[in-house]
Amino acid sequence: MKIPWVEMARLLLEHLQLVGMAMLIACAIALPLGVVAVRSERIRPWALGFANVVQTIPSLAVLGFLIPLAYIGGVGRRSAVVALVLYALLPILRNTVTGILSVDPAVRASAVALGMTERQVLWQVELPLAAPTILSGIHIAAVASIGTATLAAAVGAGGLGVLIFRGISMVNSTLILAGAIPAALLSLVTDRLLRWIEGYFRRYSAR
């Protein structure tokens, strides 16, 4: 059977868009929430608990739940992005909290004693020192999302899952592979890229 190169390229791009959008939104939620959770002992267990619970629901079920919902759900891309965001929250949130909490208390104390404002302590000291840990959370979330996003096709959101689902229904392994191989390669490339960025930050902050 002929390999559908053009469609593969288009779906790969769609796949990237789904994951990219989900990661941006997840970071926009989880990073500030992580900072708040570090500051407030009351919010921390709730935030982490919520993210943990979400993580335990099978992803196909989440997509199913989202279809009948207005605003955040429905058939199409929105449900898929929302589901991916929900899954990406936990690793990013958890690593943000861990990363900031593991900054040496003496370093934090000296930042305050020197006369940094709460905001300066965060931006100049805590976040740079927590960056490798936070990035590794984003890394885990991104690589996992690329796999999970193949299910997005189940709610009509496109992506490489389209080829896989079509391959399954037509009992055509070539089609399944045409979706699975690019998804796997995308994971590998993303993994490498983020590993490299993390290495850069680790060298810079862990001297």
């Binding site: 370093v107 104390a109 000296s110 810079y204 862990a206």
Partner: protein
Amino acid sequence: MIDFQQVQFRVGQKEILRGLDLRVDKGETLVLLGRSGSGKTTALRMVNAMLLPTAGAVLVEGQPTHEADPVELRRRIGYVMQDVGLFPHWTVARNVGAVPRLLGWPEDRIWRSVETLLDEVGLPADEYAERYPSTLSGGQRQRVGVARALAAETKLLLLDEPFGALDPITRLEMQDLFLRLRSRHGITSVFVTHDLQEAFRVGTRIALLRDGLLDTLGSPEDFRLSDTDEARAFLRTLAADDTPAHPAPTTTPPVGEDL
């Protein structure tokens, strides 16, 4: 310059300071001496508003700390602590220039101050400015810590057991460095320690704290003559230091053990 007025500090039911009255005059080094839990670090942290009194007031240059802007206050007051707390992701130069940069000094003025101070603490800028804290020894790190505390033309310095983690020889060198910098910059300081020998070396006056109260206050000479139980307990630590030179008769129980 600093005035403790009936300062109390409690956390829950625990009273850490119970009405402390103390003055620090310009140019002096007041040593806060005491055992762990005596309240000496708490008292120190009241000066730069890291802690605020639950009753009474601490006045710095006439202004009560609870009315001051804590950030502005801290930028005027140098702080050196045992764990140093250098920023590991910043070079030595950037660490030393931290407060001047927070104050918005122009870059060339920051650099002049950094260069001068690094020279003064014995870490020439050409060699050390671009290094990272992890490449320095414990003593060198504390030298950077001292330089950082003074970089913004600081006249008031708080030191919290600054040399406690260093080996005895390095500690002695750092005490000498502190004395040199003190006279060169005309620094007023509050120096927390539990080491009486150090207190005698650096202190112009010694305030002995016990359970959140002032036990003894006076010059090192006064201190040697004071007869409170706590002061005598501390003086016995010096006697214990002498034992190798003058071996005690074997019948004498070891001194200091019953503290």
